[in-house]
Amino acid sequence: MPFDALACPDWLCRSPLPSLWQAWLPDDFILRAAVYTALALALITLLVMVHVLLLAEVSARRQRRRQRFNEAWRPYFALCSLSDDAPEHPPLARGQRFWFVMQWNRTQLQLRGAARERMNRALQALGLEAYVLGLLQGRVRSRLVGLTCLRYLAEPRHWDAVQPLVTNRSAIVSLAAAQTLVAMDASRAMQLLLPLATTRRDWAMPRLSSLCQQAGTQAVTAPILTVLVGAEPSVRQRLVGLLSWAEPRHAAPWSRARLDDGGTGEELQAALECLCELGDPRDRERIVRALRHEDPGVRLKAIGAFRQQARATDAEVLLPLLADRSWWVRQATADALAALPGATPERLERLLDQVTDRYGQDALRRAIAEMPA
């Protein structure tokens, strides 16, 4: 089976070793291919091994250099966060600026208030602001480090540099940019971000909740209500959970309207959560009505809201719910009974006689056992 293409290469066969090589190399094409493959594998393996060793060595050296850098700058960062006077610092080489920003970010993570402000001033005094803005033009890693730094600086003048990144294809970069905008100007950021969230399906709800938490109720209230009023039902259903970050007083009219006129399960749950926060006795009737809703999630939230404003005589309202078909509703009802004003283990023991449902009794017994002694 002659295959010229797989014949012994000239560079090998004309070397001083050819006779040995050719004596060993099989004539069969398949076997010859296997031998070449094995040799190629051995060579690649060797190269990978050398690569791994070099890589390990290089990264170990880099780590040592980085450690030395961090040790040299740690006193500076410590002094910066404590004192208003700019402390002496070691020379900062151009190539070390990225490490500096990384270390600065990490230090800022631990700081709050005035200490953070002092660190900001130190970075500006070193003239690194332009460098950090330049990082936003780089690749993902640089952008994220730059955005984190700008988040701590929280300077509204950087808004225009950061804003384009909220539309970045990468959800991680866009959310980091969003966080930075919130740090700069929470109200303005929320006006921009919440409408944008209606189109960005890749912005997960927990991350949006985190943004709202960071922005605060004042910044969230108006834009979230605007979005909920104007959005399509599917979008509304997705974003309605953010209502819990709004000011309950302002969100109450929307919530009451949902409970009176009807809405999806998610909307009713968000509405009840809002009324729970508000604790207005005028909403009692709405909440009691929701206790009988067909969706167990809604009943669960209604129990939470009812618990907030329940009176000592409200056991009668809650008792039927101990026989609810949902395990969670039964447990929440038992907890609500245990939290009624003036509730004692003895009183609840007496209530047990009125509970005919076995699972309801179990739930109530558990709640009694968990009551503080």
């Binding site: 076997l31 094995a38 051995a42 791994v52 890589l55 060595e57 990384m102 927990p206 909740s209």
Partner: protein
């Protein structure tokens, strides 16, 4: 005619080995891309685990069977995890030793009249206890039913929407929970996420936490370190971006409780309950057209003690192989479905061809080539070429596992450790790999013959408990 047959057989085996290892190399390349992008995206927080303040509460479920030596330390380590809101539910699965007594004494347990949901089935619960010292610790004492059964009881007892299944003989890195929850925060479609399991033998453990990673003195344990790096860093990382991860290790995985209950919880009639659940989750979501994601993450780390004797290791590998066979066969419709996706059309056939039937083909290959050589039907060069390709590919794959480790987390950062791991990557191909093949074939036989098989006794040093 005979010559033709043997020639084709030789060709077949060599091609199979090339295909097998070629696919692994492809997976390796995918893992490298995935790892690089993952590390880049984590640059924002670096070594510090991100903390958003909106992390959902998690129930940690820890099934325990005869764990009196390590349970104290394991539970303590879980209670000290860096996570805003979590509970620990230990499920004593009818232990015959003093596991429950140790827990009662150490954590001041008291009986708690708690009704359990019956969302998923399990053996009867004998008692529920809560700790007087730790408000977030509960212990479920139940009749013995196996790990899957214990996890089902834990799912019923869990009070939070996410549950994390952990082995009682494993320890988590302090920030592992915070890291493994990230996919649930980044993508609402996430229903399960798994982290990396690493070997703790030879490392320093104090107070339930790993202080310093190191290499064990035992050679079997060292081989397993290379094996685990290979299995996790590219075996799973490569499939994750395609949403085709079929295994989340039972030692450490985070799940959406409602979704797991929707598929009926863990199956108790398989020894590979962890893989079976993940494959079932794929099938359920695909059939019901529910968007979902199952992720693997390289940085949440769970440390586990690996077997250091051949008997225990052999039983463990046979069991894994049997579990794999059960999971794949039970869900044979996944690759045939029109909605199979990457999990059904790529990962399932890959696992079936190379992991399920692989050991059998490998064994037949070895036997055929060696017997053929002995009988004169296979030439010396054919045998040598076969062994060179098979072993060469094996070494290359193991070394690539080390490359991924060096590129990413560098847990074994000392040069001496790295050189020793290289040596292991080479030596494991001379004896250990073939032994593994035999154990796996035994597992296949156990699966095929439906032989009643128990887990056997897992010998542990129990050093962590000291």
């Amino acid at each position: 005619m005979t010559v033709d047959w043997t020639w084709w057989a030789q060709l077949g085996f060599i091609l199979y080995f090339l295909l097998l290892n070629g696919m692994y190399l492809l997976l390796n390349a995918l893992s490298m891309i995935s790892l690089t992008s993952y590390l880049r995206e984590r640059a924002e927080t670096g070594e510090v685990a991100p903390y958003l303040g909106v992390e959902p509460p998690v129930s940690i479920l820890m099934p325990a069977y005869n764990e009196e030596a390590t349970i104290r330390t394991s539970v303590r380590s879980m209670l000290q995890l860096q996570y805003p809101d979590f509970e620990v539910v230990v499920i004593n699965d009818g232990s015959k030793d003093q596991t429950l007594a140790v827990l009662m004494a150490e954590f001041e347990l008291e009986p708690h009249p708690e009704p359990l949901r019956q969302a998923v089935e399990h053996k009867p619960v004998l008692g529920i206890y809560r700790s007087r010292r730790y408000a977030n610790l509960r212990v479920i004492d139940k009749a013995n039913g196996g790990k899957a059964d214990a996890l089902n009881a834990g799912i019923n007892a869990a009070r939070h929407g996410l549950f994390c299944g952990v082995d009682a003989d494993s320890i988590l890195q302090r920030d592992s929970l915070l890291r493994v929850v990230q996919p649930f925060l980044e993508d609402e479609r996430t229903v399960a996420a798994g982290g990396t399991v690493r070997i703790a033998n030879g490392s320093q453990v104090r107070g339930g936490f790993l202080i310093k990673a190191g290499l064990p003195g035992n050679w079997l344990a060292r081989f397993q370190i290379v094996e685990y790096l290979r299995a996790f860093l590219f075996g799973r990382l490569g499939w994750s971006p395609m949403n085709a991860v079929l295994i989340i290790s039972g030692a450490f995985g985070l799940f959406d409780r409602e979704r797991v209950m929707a598929v009926g919880g863990y199956r108790t009639d398989t020894v590979g309950e962890d893989m079976e659940l993940v494959v079932r989750l794929h099938r359920y979501h695909r059939a019901a057209k529910i968007p979902y994601r199952i992720r693997y993450l390289p940085d949440p780390i769970c440390w586990t003690e690996c077997p250091e004797d051949l008997g225990t290791l052999g039983r463990q590998r046979s069991r894994w192989q049997r579990g794999l066979a059960e999971s794949l066969v039970r869900h044979v419709r996944l690759p045939l479905s029109r909605r199979g996706g990457a999990a059904g059309w790529l990962a399932w056939p890959f696992m079936a061809l190379f992991e399920w039937l692989g050991p059998l083909i490998e064994l037949v290959g070895y036997v055929f080539m060696i017997a053929g050589f002995a009988l004169g039907a296979v030439s010396y060069t054919a045998l040598a070429a076969f062994l060179l390709v098979a072993i060469g590919m094996g070494i290359l794959l193991s070394v690539n596992g080390l490359l991924l480790e060096t590129l990413s987390f560098r847990v074994y950062s000392r040069r001496r450790d790295m050189l020793q791991l290289f040596l292991m990557a080479i030596l494991e191909n001379f004896g250990y790999r073939q032994l593994n093949t035999l154990w796996r074939v035994r597992g296949l036989w156990q699966w095929f013959s439906r032989s009643k098989h128990n887990w056997g006794v897992m010998k542990r040093s129990g050093k962590w408990g000291q």
